[in-house]
């Protein structure tokens, strides 16, 4: 009876463990009982400590990182790895709705995909990331890239739902338009770069 419970024993007993001898001692010893009560109180106080609030909203940063992931995934998906660096804002470049009059939309879509891939390979040939860009040009490129990304996201979403041929064709057509504008922008820059 002379040896009191150690903190390790008290903590074990609280967890429903602990040796029979330690339990027996606890039941018979006021000092240890008091120590056990302190332990319970301390834990109750720990649980009652107030929550913290993060000083800054981290969501924008989380979103930025995750968007970066997605961008890389798309880049892999469409084999287009040289343009993966822009932030996502609203699409500003002429996304006009198209009235589709094709007889065979799936054939039309296949053609557009092919065209889009062709433009991508042109873009790769220009190697846009390897050259210096002025501010206005950079922002035009970002807008175009964002437009393309927006379309890619919609295309991916569309692939999960029931396919809508008309919508699909419109999207691919818009994508081709934007890719074309992107190639033109980069080509113009390359020309001025070479000429300078």
């Amino acid at each position: 009876m002379l040896i009191h419970c150690t903190m390790e024993e008290l903590v074990s007993i609280r967890d429903g463990e602990g040796s029979a001898a330690a339990r027996q001692h606890l039941d018979a010893c006021d000092a240890c009982m008091e120590e056990m009560e302190r332990l319970h109180q301390r834990i109750a106080h720990l649980k009652a400590l107030p929550a913290f609030e993060a000083p800054r909203d981290r969501w924008p940063e989380v979103e930025r990182v995750v968007r970066g992931d997605r961008r890389k995934r798309y880049a892999r998906l469409i084999g287009w790895s040289s343009l993966v660096a822009a932030a996502s804002i609203a699409l500003l470049v002429g996304l006009r709705g198209f009235s589709v009059a094709a007889d065979d939309p799936s054939k039309e879509v296949a053609q557009l995909i092919e065209e889009s891939q062709h433009l991508e390979s042109m873009l790769r040939a220009i190697k846009p990331s390897s050259r210096v860009m002025n501010g206005r040009m950079a922002s035009a490129v970002v807008q175009l890239e964002d437009g393309i990304e927006l379309i890619d996201e919609t295309l991916e979403e569309l692939s999960r739902r029931r396919r809508n041929a008309v919508e699909l064709e419109q999207l691919w057509r818009q994508r081709v338009q934007l890719m074309d504008a992107l190639v033109t922008t980069h080509a113009a820059r390359t020309a001025s770069y070479v000429g300078f």
Partner: protein, 182 residues
């Protein structure tokens, strides 16, 4: 345990699993306080806790598609587990080891003469615990993890977790003294 400030329903969880960014943001809003608090209690340093908060939600966004649990309860457990692992990873860093040594030098374990008459409050005492004791006491006593869970997350043994918990309480008991029961 800290309650959620925003209710999360099954629909929001399903939408988040599909990568819906608004639903993911909703998760962030609902859990950010409890994740940050857990991280802050383990890491102590606000900047590090923010890092844990961010990394936790980046991982939540990346892997929620693979989350197989059902209902907000299991989602809470899943998110908190990610947060706890990140926080434990972070306190392995060098600077935390140095703080531990500093705290040991201060005479942790029993009431040193310098502390006679100086009653620490629980917050301060908790902060002063060596990093691993602090983590164990928080995860076990407040977040409700078992020693098996903690050992698993820390890459240590169950008896390591148990002895850290006992040491943490022995220290807190010493620092808080008789005033603890008020």
């Amino acid at each position: 345990m800290n309650g959620l400030s925003v209710a999360i329903d099954e629909v929001a969880i399903q939408r988040a699993k599909l990568g819906d960014s608004r639903a993911l943001e909703q998760l962030y809003r609902a859990y950010q306080s409890s994740v940050y608090t857990l991280a802050r209690r383990i890491c102590r340093v606000p900047e590090d806790a923010e890092e844990v908060l961010q990394d936790t939600f980046v991982e939540v966004c990346r892997s929620i598609g693979k989350f197989r649990g059902e209902g907000p309860g299991s989602l809470t457990a899943w998110i908190k587990r990610i947060a706890a692992s990140k926080a434990l990873m972070l306190i392995r860093r060098e600077k935390y080891r140095e703080t531990d040594e500093f705290n040991e030098d201060l005479g942790a374990g029993s009431t040193s003469p310098a502390q006679v008459g100086l009653r620490m409050d629980l917050e301060a005492a908790l902060e002063r615990l060596p990093r691993r004791s602090r983590a164990v006491v928080w995860l076990h006593d407040v977040e409700g993890y078992t020693h098996e869970d903690i050992a698993d997350m820390m890459g240590k043994t169950v008896s390591f977790s148990k002895s850290q918990l006992a040491r943490a309480h022995a220290r807190l008991r010493g620092w808080l003294g008789e005033g603890e029961q008020c």
